[in-house]
Symmetry: C2
Subunit: 325 residues, 2 copies
């Protein structure tokens, strides 16, 4: 089959996921894997694998294991990141290290990384190239997480540093998902590379959009507390640009709010947002975001695949861009 | 070259290790890798890869990266295990999570696992078979660590459970090292499998020997405090067999010492050892250990390789068996 229907592809993925066996004994090692994989999510990355594959080949059912490899890897990073970030919740449920303990989350995560490799083993195409690309992506994601943790303790982070961090932490895995789909379909290296670049560009755009929605999102649609990043002094693109462009008076207000340990939450969000508005941070972020989306779509346009097939990926990406949470 | 000289092989390994680059930025991610890899150790596992390779082929220089993959993987497990075991020291130096912090040890360890895979990429031989065997080994090692942690909280552990745990936690990686060397040399699957089994058998024997030396080792040669396992109530083969075979009076003495939280260390070691002596635990453990060594050597004998080449591996294994620390 070949399908333009996202829901049909998601159905294939979720069906295979529900049949997955990660291992049995000791149960303490494997139960947390089943747990985190069952928490849901949009399954965005395996969807991208299948859509990229379908640019060149039919029968996405042939590469479901490889698509799941990316989802298992993604959830491995979530399991370990949640320990490092001391996060209590993941998709509204207890994180693994909270439900069990940190040791369990470390070790189950380790096995998940091994299982991700194992799911790639029967890949059609050049296995060595595929694993090498996966290795580069996996190391990059770890580098991004380390940069992100470093940034918390740095007084100053440049725009370039920030863009590099989100590229590594979130965008390269989207890029790899698309690259993998192309490699599995036997596409030319130049096409696989172009799809990788497309994924990285729109991935950076998505993260900028997330940063933006945290401040300017519609509370009802966003699903999280608007202003959460402001309250936690998170070094987002918005804050970094504001610190870079603020005049002395604006800088004083920002610094005041960044240094307060006790404050009225609504007031902090309101006053920091007011500074953002004065500087025009929303427009600056939108411009940067759209720059990345445009660059991404340009790359997609140049890819040597049937236009109607590329249209599926374009439509899906636009749908992701337009979502408000 | 082909060499029977262990020191020459170790020299090749250490030379390549000293030239290894794991990555640069962020330094917080890569410095701990350089640190743990520099702490030394016998480099036993990469030595086994090269020796197994030399059963079938000359020029071990050709597979140094693959030999190092096993050493990097081993050190990844040490870095994560040390977090889980809350160990302050590794080879007499601060552990990574003590010198930096747990988050650093988690994330640097994750990258090490990826680097281990990366070092296998240029393997001669069938890459898919090699990675599959490595995946099975890696998952097994994690399972062994989880069983070991579980055992701490179990009232009763059987001999079979214990042997299975040490097989997974320590022996399968020795088995895989030997299997890998054979696969890299293009040996027949039956020979690779026989070498794996040889490694697993002698690996179990080595762990039983470690358990034994902890109680019956020569303090001067052993290098660790004799009786450390007794003091920490560690569920070793010796303790499990003693609990299994003790008469009611002996069981009472053992249970007494297992339940004491405050005690004279020398007295505890002396009295528990006295019970072991009464039951004949030393002889029982020696018999079990020698059973595994004998089984291992029998497998080695049956391998289809030049006798003088097998002699190298036999001599080295005997040297490891005879060491007293």
């Amino acid at each position: 089959m070949m399908t333009n229907d996202f829901k049909a592809l998601a159905g294939l993925i979720n069906n295979r996921l529900s049949q997955m066996s990660y291992g049995n004994q000791p149960i303490e090692l494997y139960e947390p894997i089943r747990y985190i994989m069952s928490l849901g999510g949009k399954r965005l990355r395996p969807l991208l694998v299948l859509m990229s594959y379908q640019l060149f080949k039919d029968n996405p059912e042939e590469v479901l294991d490889q698509a799941l490899a990316v989802e298992v890897f993604h959830n491995f990073t979530l399991m370990h990141d949640d320990i490092m970030d001391d996060a209590p919740l993941r998709r509204g449920q207890q994180t693994v290290h909270e439900k069990w303990n940190s040791n369990t989350a470390i070790l189950s995560g380790d096995v998940m990384l091994v299982k991700a490799y194992d799911l790639l083993m029967d890949s059609p195409g050049n296995l060595k190239d595929i694993i090498r690309a996966f290795n580069a992506c996996a190391a990059g994601v770890c580098e991004g997480q380390q940069f992100d943790m470093n940034f918390e303790h740095l007084p100053q982070v440049t725009e370039a540093d920030y863009l590099n961090m989100i590229r590594l932490k979130t965008a390269v895995l989207l890029g790899f998902s698309l690259e993998l789909g192309a490699m599995l379909a036997g596409a030319k290296p130049s096409e696989s590379k172009a799809l990788y670049d497309f994924g990285v560009d729109v991935g950076i755009g998505f993260q900028l959009k997330d940063d933006l929605l945290d401040v300017y999102g519609d509370q009802k649609k966003f699903g999280k507390q608007v202003g959460g990043d402001i309250l936690s002094n998170k070094k987002t693109f918005l804050l970094l640009k504001a610190l870079e462009l603020a005049n002395p008076t604006q800088l004083q207000v920002l610094s005041h709010w960044l240094s307060q340990t006790s404050f009225d939450a609504n007031q902090k969000v309101k006053e920091v947002t007011a500074i953002y508005d004065q500087i025009g941070i929303k427009e600056l972020t939108l411009a940067k975001m759209n720059e990345y989306f445009a660059k991404g779509f340009e790359r997609l346009g140049a890819i040597d695949a049937a236009p109607e097939r590329k249209e599926v990926l374009r439509t899906f990406t636009q749908y992701l861009i337009d979502r408000e949470k």
